[in-house]
Amino acid sequence: MAFQRLAERMPGLRWLTRAASILACIGFWQLASSLHVNLGIVTFRNVPPPTEVVQSAIVLLKSPKLLAHVSSSLWRVFAGYGAAVVIGIAFGFAIGRSRAASDLLLPPLELLRPIPAVAWIPLSILIFPSSELSMIFITFIGALFPIILNTVHGVANIDRRLVASAHSLGGTPAAILREIVLPGAAPSIVTGLAIGMGTSWFCLVTAEMISGQFGIGYYTWEAYTLQNYADIVVGMLVIGLLGMGSSWLLTTLGHYLMPWRHPAVAR
């Protein structure tokens, strides 16, 4: 209570508290790893301290390896996720708008949906001629289902009175799809895109750890096998940053595409 009242008077105090919280975590990590603390169920014996991680990060930043790893990961996400966006939205529209398409497309998708994308890794290595393609496929599968399902949800839940109004105002079926159904489903589609982006990265990192030769997931796993423990944490941080960046991209895209959701000022 006392803190709350104090914080209201000094808004800077809240930021100070937040920064202190992060610093405390890093401080604990530094202390636990440099003292090789053993807590019974977890041990910090092999955990690199933050100071070492920073040194490794600087080394990686200066080496050309970083660009090679990050760019091959980004390319795979771009290809797999991109394909999932195109196919997912198209299928979602078809399923949400047409009963025939729904009967034709939905049953096999419903059968495959409960299988986690990561479980596809062995089979996809067998199916695809190159490990590159199989990793892109895993990324694609990971993003596909959330995008399809959210698109279907958005398209099928369009307010029927909006469609009726558009009909009465002279809208043709094609115009209604473009002017009413697409923007009406947009919030749901963007939610699907955001969830899909998360699963996409998750699947990619897993696939790279198993079958990659480049990529940030492979880098992290290689660091483990080569016992460069500080590099493990660097890899984790880079993966986190890439995920954060892509979700920021999607949020920004959402704001840009749906200005009516956050009308800033009246004029």
């Binding site: 009175r161 009726a164 009465s168 105002l169 009516w260 004029r267």
Partner: protein, 251 residues
Amino acid sequence: MNIRVSDIAAQTVSRIEVARVSISLGEGVDAFEAIRDLNFAVVPGEFVCIVGPSGCGKSTLLGALAGHLPLTQGQLTVDDQQVLGPSPDRGIVFQQHTLFPWKRVRDNIAFGPKMRGIGKAERRRAAQELLKLVGLEGFELFYPSQLSGGMQQRVEIARVLINQPRVLLMDEPFGALDAQTRSLMQEVLLDIWTKMPTTTVFVTHDIEEALFLADRIIVMSARPGRVIDDIRLPFARPRHGELVTETSSCG
């Protein structure tokens, strides 16, 4: 094409004919007869209010006039043309929340002209005229969610009128508004209607509203809806708010 209020006023006003109309809704065991053997005609330029208890099928009738619902029996005609589907000739205004949330006020109003393939500058100019007519100048760039309920209904009316409809259908358009805004909107509607007389069918369950607005009140029975009374109102126009208080104190 350049729409001006003066042009809109020169539109044709239409005659509506409802002949032996029955409508069943629902499927299978849930099916029920909403309207049974409805017969009446609306003369060109008339303002008709349809009143009745909720569930009497008055909104169903309006939906059928708009072309959204198929008839089970009978015939609906506007100027001897059978109603077979929705058309901008028969504009419909619902109770609330049917403005397109992703379009600014200006583009909501200009939707009809856009569907007719009219260019951007042209249709925006027309929308501006309609905004002036409904008293919302200055709000063209707002999104519907930024407007009050009464303002949203003004935009709805403008969006329908820009198509120069032969018939105006209104389904409890002020039902969701507070009492004060509702009586204001009734005056606004009559004002617009005087500037551009359109054959109007207005559904409401508010008798006072019907008395204030209509030339004629059609009273419907509970389900299945039938016409049980057809009253012509003698009140002179233009009408003002006092009429409502006078009639209600008399009654």
